[in-house]
Assembly symmetry: C2
Homo-oligomer: 214 residues x 2
C-alpha cells in the first residue's frame, strides 16, 4: 500500500516535488478565491489535473494543503518589509517599499487574496505568527521610522498606522482588483493602472496631497 507523505522518513522523490508543486499551485488558485471552507478538494484536484485520492496521497488533509500554502506565502509576503533599510534614505526607502509592494500585488495577486481571506476569517490558522514574528518585525521597522521622525527627516506620525496604510493601499490593487477594474473602466484594464497607482501613492506618501491651508 502507498505510504502517505507525512509518514515517510527518506527524502522526497522527483515525482513528489513536481506533484506537490502542481497541487499547491492549484490549491492557491482555489483557496485564494473561495477561502478555506468554500474550497473543495475535488475542485483543487480538478484544477491540478489529477484525481482526488491522488491529491490526498501527497497532502493527507485539506488543512495540510492550506497550512503549507499559508506558511509559504507568509514568508515571502514580508520580504519587502524586511528589506526596509534603517540606514537608507527615508524618501527612497518608502518609495521603493511602495513600489515593491505594488509589484507583488501585480505579480502575486493570488497570494495576496489568500492572505486577505485568512484575515477576514479572523486568522484562525496564523494568529500566533501574527502576534509573534510579524509583530516583532513591524515593531523593529516602526522604531526605524520613529528614529527618522525624531531626527527631523520625516514628519512625526504614528509609524504603525503608516505601515498599515502602505499595506492597505498597495494590497488593495490585488484584493479589490475587480472593483478597481470596474471603476477605472475598460481603458485602464491593462497593467497601466499599477504604474498610475505607483505614481499616485509615492506622491501621496512623500509629498502629501499638498492641500493649502487657509
Amino acid at each position: 500500500m502507498a505510504i502517505p507523505r507525512a509518514a515517510r522518513t527518506q527524502r522526497r522523490t522527483r515525482i513528489q516535488e513536481e506533484k506537490e508543486e502542481v497541487i499547491l499551485e492549484a490549491a492557491l488558485d482555489v483557496f485564494s478565491v473561495h477561502g478555506f471552507r468554500g474550497s473543495t478538494i475535488d475542485q483543487i484536484a480538478d484544477v491540478a489535473g489529477m484525481s482526488k485520492p491522488n491529491v490526498l496521497y501527497y497532502f493527507r488533509t485539506k488543512e495540510a494543503m492550506h497550512r503549507s500554502l499559508i506558511d509559504r506565502v507568509l514568508f515571502t509576503w514580508l520580504e519587502p518589509l524586511r528589506a526596509f533599510d534603517a540606514n537608507g534614505n527615508p524618501e527612497s526607502e518608502i518609495r521603493s517599499y511602495i513600489r515593491r509592494k505594488l509589484e507583488m500585488a501585480r505579480d502575486f495577486p493570488r497570494e495576496s487574496r489568500l492572505f486577505a481571506n485568512e484575515m477576514l476569517q479572523g486568522a484562525p490558522h496564523i494568529e500566533d505568527e501574527l502576534r509573534g514574528p510579524l509583530k516583532s518585525l513591524v515593531d523593529e521597522k516602526a522604531e526605524v521610522i520613529r528614529t527618522w521622525a525624531k531626527a527631523g527627516k520625516i514628519a512625526k506620525c504614528d509609524p504603525y498606522h503608516l505601515i498599515f496604510s502602505i499595506w492597505s493601499t498597495t494590497q488593495h490593487y490585488a484584493d479589490f482588483d475587480v472593483q478597481v477594474r470596474a471603476v477605472l473602466g475598460q481603458e485602464h484594464s491593462g497593467e497601466g493602472r499599477f504604474e498610475d497607482a505607483a505614481r499616485y501613492l509615492e506622491k501621496l506618501f512623500v509629498d502629501g496631497l499638498g492641500i493649502r491651508r487657509p
Copy 2:
C-alpha cells in the same frame, strides 16, 4: 400549505418583518466571515435560533439571503461618498470623508467584510452594480476632485487612485482587524486605535508625510 415569501402579493406580516431581520442578522454574521460558499444554511439557522426549513420559509434559497444582504450593504456603504460635497471646502470634505469611513469600519465591520469577501471572489453577484451605479458615482466625485485640482485648491493627483486609497486605508481597520490588533498589541485593542488611525490618516491625506526634499 405555507406560501413562500416571494409568491405572496399582500404586504408583510409583523412576524415576517421580525424574522427576516433576525435571519439577515445571522446571515451577516456567517457570510461576512466565511464567504458565500463557505457558509451553510444550517449554520445561519443555528445563529438565528430557528430551524433550517423555517429559514428557507422566509428566504427560498441561500442566494436569496446573500443577495438581500448585499443589496442592503451596497447602498449604505456608498453613503459617505454620496455625501462628498462639491461645494464644500476640500480639506474639510476629505477630513470628514475619512472620518465617516473610519466610523463605518468601526461600527459595521461585518458589512465591510461581507463586501470584501465578495470582492475577493471576483464580485460574481454584483459586477453589474460595480460597473454601473458605483462607477457613475465615483466618476462624478472624481470630477469634483479634478475641479479642485484645476482651481489650485489641492495638488494635482489621480482622483480615482485617491478614492481607492481612502477606501483601502479605512476599510483596512475592519477587514484586517485581527492583524491590526495583533501588531498593535494588547494595549491598543480598545477603540483608541480608530482615533489614532483618524488622526494619522487625516494628516497623511491633508498634509502628507512632510518628507524633506534634498
